[in-house]
Amino acid sequence: MLGMALVIMIASITVTFLSAKVAATLGRNLRDQIFGKVISFSSGEMDKFSTASLITRSTNDIQQVQMLFAMIFRIVLYAPILGIGGVIKVLETEASMTWILALAVGLILLLVLVLMAVAMPKFKKLQTMIDRLNLVSREILTGIPVIRAFSREKHEEERFEEANRRLTRTNLFVNRTMTFMMPAMMLIMNGITVLIVYNGSYAIDDGKIQVGSMMAFIQYAMQIIMSFLMITMISIMLPRASVSAKRINEVLETEPQIHNPKEPEQAQKGHEGEVVFDHVSFAYPGAEENVLTDISFTAKKGETVAFIGSTGSGKSTLVNLIPRLFDVTEGRVLVDGVDVRSMDIHDLRSKLGYVPQKGVLFSGTIASNLRYGKDDATQEEIEDAARIAQAADFIEEKEEKYESPIAQGGTNVSGGQKQRLSIARAIAKKPEIFIFDDSFSALDFKTDLTLRQTLKKETKDATTLIVAQRISTIIHADKILVLDEGRVAGMGTHGELLKSCEVYQQIARSQLSEEELAHE
């Protein structure tokens, strides 16, 4: 018997080992897959899901599914063996009372079904409430300075409270419904035992069975019911996990709209560094109105082309079309003489030095951030880039200089520093084409000017596209496009536009004094 016990132990440990491994593998693979998928998304898909929701899907939801599977593997392997073994034994001993077993199984299934029907809709709601709580928490965490400035701590606590209360209420309902399950199961089990004895006593009286086989029958019945119990245990976790699984699946099933072409075209000789917009129109997916309408221009190698216009005129959208963060709705964008849609997407992006509107840094060190676009950049190269971006001074002031840590999201450097680092990051990459998406407005005039002067000097051959607010930033551009409600309102140099373009005149007048205007 001891030997038997030892074998059982070893077998069970093996099962545990396998189930733990399989469940963990599943979780890991799902994480890898969903992460890879999200990475492949274009900005369109990101907007569709919202970043917050994608984060929950990649973290919480996967955790749920993984937990369920850990349970399933451990239980599902046991339960049927126990259950089927029990049934065989029962049929061997006495068939006249098998209807009791059928009754037991029927009752258990009924119970589970009823509970599921009650709890399932609430389970779905539960997830949206978790999302809501996450969102509110995120908003509070990102808005701490503003909340404090307005002294709205109470208000935020109330907003959180609201989300918290609703989550708790739903949670309570769901949990309580599930609480009902165990006692009810026990009652069914015990009731069945009583029923067997009651029935059995008559059968014994009739001499159909013996007391011993009735006792055995009880044992087997328990075994069968237990195996069903185990399976229903899983059903407790099933609803929440299935909702999670669905949300994960939604992400996995979404196909990114922007694809790498199957047979990419090579850059055309003689057109290197050239950016051409050919009657480009663009509307966000699902939107009725165009953000950009019929834009055409050419930026030759080494030229500086600037975009100016009021807020919402589509300047940022325009430059986002070049790295294919979005694809044009009509017309085409050419880089190096090739439509960006037929170019290898990695080749395309490796030509670009992109500086987003909002400085985004990644955790690591200053150096690791500067090397982001060029892994093998030497210390000299990154120091050079930092110098051009006017970032060298503040970096040198830091104790650990280029090895100074950057916190997640770059929260430990100021807005202007973040912006300069993200400019330096693009410079270190030594791209053919620079895209500055309103990257200078977080800088003061002086820094802005020095930065541009140095940049111009050091990167003569690069084509530069600048989205700007300030005329002073773009005053010396080779070509200025004035955008108004997504259309080109004027194109030319500063001097030409001052004479010919009304919108430009208005902008200029608002920024420069008469004297300065005359000076030009």
């Binding site: 979780g27 990475i39 708790t168 006692p183 977080a442 800088l443 002067q453």
Partner: protein
């Protein structure tokens, strides 16, 4: 990930790396839930009752069997028959007992889920309150994803753990005691032998627990790390794409994920291993008791029937031990989670209330900086000895190159940070004499960072003054020149800003934050790069609105565009944290110093 020390002295991930103190965490949980004393006791009573009825059950069922057996014997020997009435009675009684037991466990479950839900609820609530009392410094030194995960994942784990483990703990212990009593009543010596397995069990539980706890912590830590990466990469999605970093970030992620996987399966495995081992130990005990039982029955000390029932009780005896072992696993993950939650709740707060707070009623808004010196790190002073006097109603501009400490001045004024030495006074009262929130009521503020939340435009503007009427909100929006663009939105003022507030542009957001500040209507205004994302045509219009707004108010303006500050009463020129020049526009230009240089550089040619 870099483990180097951050500027604040500790990196973001430190919390996960700290040595975990299981006992301490448990103590904290117990202390926390002791506030539900009454309900816990009630739950205890129901749990014990439910279990006791369950323990008694088999014995009564045994009675029925005995009755049946005796009846059968009597029938065979011809002295009577089976007393169905008696059996029926016993079974009916038993059924009632079971029903009561079920009701008890159900009530117990209801109470316990209630408690654990309340624990989760109030912990979340405390965290949300705590978030508002922590110094700004706390947030600047760690990723918010980490705090977020405490609010959701950790509290969730804790809540679930509490719910299941406490119930199981109570029923198991009751079961253990009940069965122990039953066993003693049968035979003392056999009980002693059966108990011999206890220390062995304890030893094994202890060993396995120690290991699995280690992996549980690792799992929790890597989970945090994986989630942190997800948060960071998803937020910087654009940059990752354009820099062709998809492969690199995926590789890094897969590495961390692999670590998570290693610790995840190990923690699962070790916790799962406990059960089979315990079963094995239980079986050894079984054999030992069988040997002794056989010996005793040969000696005629006990009946064969007693051995049979004793075996049943041994089975019932090892079962709760196994359950306790399972519970210990759950407690471990709960402890790990609770440690992170309590750690957050125990962070040092900034004092909210002054001892003898000065009322802000009737203050005029004279601000005086008196030899102020400050550094985020006391070793690195960035503002040295700054003094200035500002009279009520003046417009003060702060200019200077990026990183000169302009925003720091504002942070000091709002008391996000306290000065290291010197003082800032409003109408002669040191800032520290005010209650923090009251002090801030005095300021209206528009920051470079345009923070809005997922709600309607109306709600977002009303944030400035919660009791404002719709008309007042619209008036403020008009003053901020936001009305036009709001009306072009699909739902006008009822347009809901989406989660990322990406359905309006950066400049439009800024207009809304300006409207919000206009509505707030405070004594002192702070405009930190308030119009940096607004196009200049709009800016001129807003400027006019602002000028109106600023009339009679003290205002501090930080701006890059020097054109917006030409008419200030006082311009403070900052460089490297110090005020190097002050005066009005003409005076400063005449000085031909740093300011004049800065001003002229706007129009310099790129040579």
């Amino acid at each position: 990930m870099s483990n180097k020390r951050g500027p604040m002295g500790h990196g973001g991930r430190m919390s996960g790396e700290k040595a975990k103190d299981f006992k301490g965490a448990m103590k904290k949980i117990i202390k926390y839930i002791s506030r539900y004393k009454f309900r816990l006791i009630l739950m205890l009573i129901f749990a014990v009752a439910g279990t006791v009825f369950n323990i008694v059950g088999p014995k009564i069922l045994g009675k029925a069997t005995t009755e049946l057996f005796n009846g059968l014997v009597a029938k065979i020997s011809g002295t009577g028959g089976i007393d169905f009435g008696r059996i029926g009675e016993i079974l009916a009684f038993l059924m009632c007992l079971y029903a009561v037991s079920a009701v008890c466990s159900f009530v117990q479950g209801m109470i316990m889920t209630g408690i654990s839900n309340d624990v989760g609820y109030s912990l979340r609530k405390e965290i949300s309150g705590k978030m508002n009392r922590l110094p700004l410094k706390y947030y600047e030194s760690r990723p918010y994803g980490e705090i977020l995960s405490r609010i959701t994942n950790d509290i969730d784990t804790l809540q679930m753990g509490l719910n299941q483990s406490i119930t199981q703990l109570i029923t198991s212990v009751t079961m253990l005691i009940g069965v122990f009593v039953m066993m003693l009543s049968i035979n003392v010596w056999m009980t002693v032998v059966a108990l011999l397995i206890l220390p062995v069990s304890m030893l094994i539980i202890g060993k396995v627990m120690k290991r699995s706890q280690k992996y549980f912590q690792a799992q929790q830590r890597y989970l945090g790390e994986v989630n942190g990466q997800v948060e960071e990469i998803y937020s910087g999605h654009n940059v990752v794409k354009v820099f062709n970093k998809e492969k690199d970030v995926t590789e890094t992620f897969e590495q961390t994920n692999q670590k998570l996987y290693e610790s995840a399966w190990r923690s699962q495995f070790f916790s799962g291993m406990m059960m089979p081992i315990m079963q094995f130990v239980g079986n050894i005990g079984y054999v030992m008791v069988a040997l002794l039982g056989g010996f005793l029955s040969i000696k005629g000390i006990i009946e064969v029937g007693d051995i049979q029932s004793f075996f049943q009780y041994i089975r019932n005896f090892t079962q709760p031990i196994q359950q306790i072992a399972q519970v210990s696993n759950m407690l471990q993950s709960s402890a790990a989670a609770s440690e992170r939650v309590f750690e957050f709740l125990e962070e040092e707060e900034e004092d909210q209330l002054a001892e003898h707070p000065v009322s802000i009623q009737g203050l005029e808004g004279n601000v005086e900086f008196d030899h102020v010196s400050f550094g985020y790190d006391p070793d690195q002073i960035i503002i040295h000895d700054f003094s200035a006097k500002v009279r009520s109603g003046q417009k003060i501009a702060i200019v200077g190159p990026t990183g000169a400490g302009k925003t720091t001045m504002v942070k000091l004024l709002m008391r996000f940070y306290d000065v290291n030495s010197g003082s800032i006074r409003v109408d002669g009262h040191d800032l520290r004499e005010f209650n923090r929130s009251e002090l801030r009521e005095m300021f209206g503020m528009v920051l470079q960072d345009t923070w809005l939340y997922n709600g309607t435009i109306m709600e977002n503007i009303r944030y400035g003054r919660l009791d404002a009427t719709d008309e007042e909100v619209i008036a403020a929006a008009k003053a901020a020149h936001a009305h036009r663009f709001i009306m072009t939105q699909p739902e006008g003022y009822n347009t809901v800003l989406n989660e990322e507030t990406s359905n309006i542009s950066q400049g439009q957001k800024q207009l809304l934050t300006i409207a919000r500040a206009i509505l707030a209507d405070n004594r002192i205004l702070i405009l930190d790069e308030a119009t940096s994302s607004v196009d200049t045509r709009t800016e001129v219009q807003i400027q006019k609105a602002m000028d109106n707004l600023m009339k009679g108010r003290t205002s501090f303006v930080i701006a890059h565009r020097l054109s917006t500050i030409r008419d200030s009463d006082l311009i403070l020129v900052m460089k490297d944290g110090d005020i190097i020049e002050q005066g009005n526009h003409e005076e400063l230009l005449a000085k031909k110093g740093f300011y004049a240089n800065l001003y002229n550089s706007q129009f310099e040619k790129v040579s």
